[in-house]
């Protein structure tokens, strides 16, 4: 209803300026004191609580990968993929409902898609120099950097029970 009203006011302007989404017509400027906002139709307590419950559930799901019931303990990649999927779902829920993007006009694509593309591109550009930095290393660096063999060595040392322990036996 409020949208109708706003349409009536903005009518000719929006037609000329090609406002894409009638829904966004009710967008309150900050200074609008008379504001009968179009916002009221968005969300609502029930929806927010549902999103909240979903977010909690998803957090618990990604936390499950850490617990002992997770069946792919020996294949970390499964857990990583799962957790990233869960995170993306959570991010989608927050962006769509809490940030009200679901109800926004098409400008949302103008701002988010280029930023997201540049973000992905940025990370990809790091791969050759940073991600692959250990494919070939100098001998000196290989000597001083930590390697999986160091972890194995530490684990062996832990398993060896090197110190006989008179005090521990009460």
């Amino acid at each position: 209803m409020s949208d109708r009203h706003d349409d009536a006011v903005h009518g000719p302007l929006t037609r000329a300026g090609h406002q894409p989404d009638a829904d966004a017509g009710g967008h309150g400027e900050e200074g609008h004191a008379d504001a009968d906002h179009g916002h009221e139709s968005h969300g609502g307590l029930g929806l927010y609580l549902a999103v909240f419950a979903a977010l909690c559930l998803l957090t618990t799901m990604s936390f499950l990968t850490y617990s002992s019931v997770w069946p792919w303990r020996d294949q970390p990649h499964v857990g990583w993929a799962f957790m990233m999927a869960v995170s993306c779902t959570k991010a989608m829920l927050v962006v769509l409902f809490f940030m009200h993007v679901r109800w926004e006009a098409n400008w949302k694509y103008v701002l988010t898609i280029p930023a997201a593309m540049m973000a992905i591109f940025l990370a990809l550009m790091l791969v050759p120099d940073v991600g692959m930095r250990n494919r070939m290393v100098s001998q000196e660096r290989a000597l001083h950097m930590a390697r999986p063999s160091d972890i194995r060595l530490m684990e062996q040392a832990a398993g060896a029970g090197a110190f006989a322990d008179p005090a521990a036996a009460h």
Partner: protein, 351 residues
């Protein structure tokens, strides 16, 4: 630029006369984007923030998966339950700020204010938990850089000499730093020449520990004491083998092999039993881990602090319908902070 509502019907009246108007031009505001300026700016800012955190997270992922060794979360004393709790806190705060906005839109100012206050408190709780986590890292000698960090990448000769240097320092501990545990064993200062005039400013903390009577120590401390003596012997051994250094490192701060190990995620080493020892520890890959961890969570924490400042300022106002725009923008920012944590939590704590 701001569209005063009363001018719009006026513009409408003259719309048809536009072409033929002789100097009768009324300027009209046509919003390029159907959103307020504040919100537009906030979204532009958020799109730069997306790139900012994408760069940080992207570097983290690339560094992590390009690394020869990356520590497991329990190697670096990260507690997954605490991280999950903080995730929960942030999600709750996202809900409360949304409810504050809804209340403000419904012109329920006092309700909006209480939701805003709840958001502020939840954000503070998040920071508090974060601070607790940081202090746990610091107490294990995990710092992002050298002067404070006691992390070594591997149990090699450099590690061995660092251990020896620390033991030397413990043998000349300034009097003010002596832990209370040792206070009873500190014999009244008798210097070499027997003159009492100048009491020494340093004490031999190792010797004092060894001199402690059996009943002054718990079982764990007794066992740790005998281990410490063996570690010192091993560190000074001229016929030291490479494996000995790994044994020393394991005694100082063991790397838990599986996360089944439940009590806080790590077994007890010498540094845990006697925190004042502050012996260097080995965490393979730990230095790069610490750099990325503190950078990412640090920048996130800075964003949280900024959000809390904004909330505090907003709390000074009457949060009625007029302020809905401000609350919405603050909320957008806060949701973004939540969003970053949604990715940070699994990447940092669970990967």
């Amino acid at each position: 630029m701001n569209a005063p509502a009363h001018s719009l019907p006026h513009g409408h009246d003259h719309h048809d006369a536009h072409d033929g108007g002789h100097g009768h031009i009324t300027l009209q505001y046509q919003p390029g984007l159907p959103l307020s300026r504040g919100k537009l700016i906030m979204w532009l800012f958020l799109s730069t923030e997306i790139m900012f955190f994408a760069a940080l997270l992207g570097s983290y992922v690339v560094l992590r998966f390009g690394a020869a060794v990356w520590p497991k979360p329990h190697h670096v004393h990260l507690s997954e339950p605490i991280g999950a709790f903080n995730t929960f806190v942030l999600i709750c705060s996202s809900v409360t700020i949304v409810l504050a906005l809804e209340a403000a839109k419904a012109n329920k100012a006092s309700l909006a204010k209480s939701w805003m206050l709840a958001t502020l408190l939840l954000g503070t709780l998040f920071l508090g938990v974060k601070g607790y986590e940081y202090s746990a890292k610091f107490s294990h000698g995990i710092y992002p850089s050298a002067p404070h960090s006691r992390m070594y990448e591997k149990p090699d000769l450099y590690y061995g000499s660092a251990v020896r240097a620390r033991i030397e320092a413990l043998r000349k501990m300034p009097k003010g730093q002596v832990p209370t545990l040792l206070a009873s064993a500190l014999v009244p200062a008798k210097t070499e020449d027997g003159k009492e005039s100048a009491p020494p400013t340093t004490v031999d903390a190792i010797q004092a520990l060894i001199a402690l009577p059996e009943n002054a120590l718990s079982d764990e401390q007794r066992s740790a004491r005998s281990h410490l003596q063996q570690v010192i012997k091993m560190a000074d051994d001229p016929n030291q083998q490479p494996f000995d250094l790994a044994v020393i490192a394991d005694q100082v701060m063991p790397l838990p092999s599986e996360h089944a190990d439940s009590h806080g995620g790590h077994a007890h080493g010498l540094n845990d039993v006697f925190p004042w020892l502050r012996l260097p520890a080995v965490i393979p890959g730990g230095n790069m881990w610490a750099s990325t961890y503190f950078l990412l969570t640090g920048f996130h924490a800075i964003h949280v602090i900024v959000g809390l400042i904004v909330f505090t300022i907003l709390l000074l106002y009457r949060l009625d319908r007029k302020r809905a725009g401000m609350i919405e923008n603050a909320g957008l920012y806060w949701h973004f902070v939540d969003l970053v944590w949604i990715f940070l939590f699994p990447l940092m704590y669970l990967f």
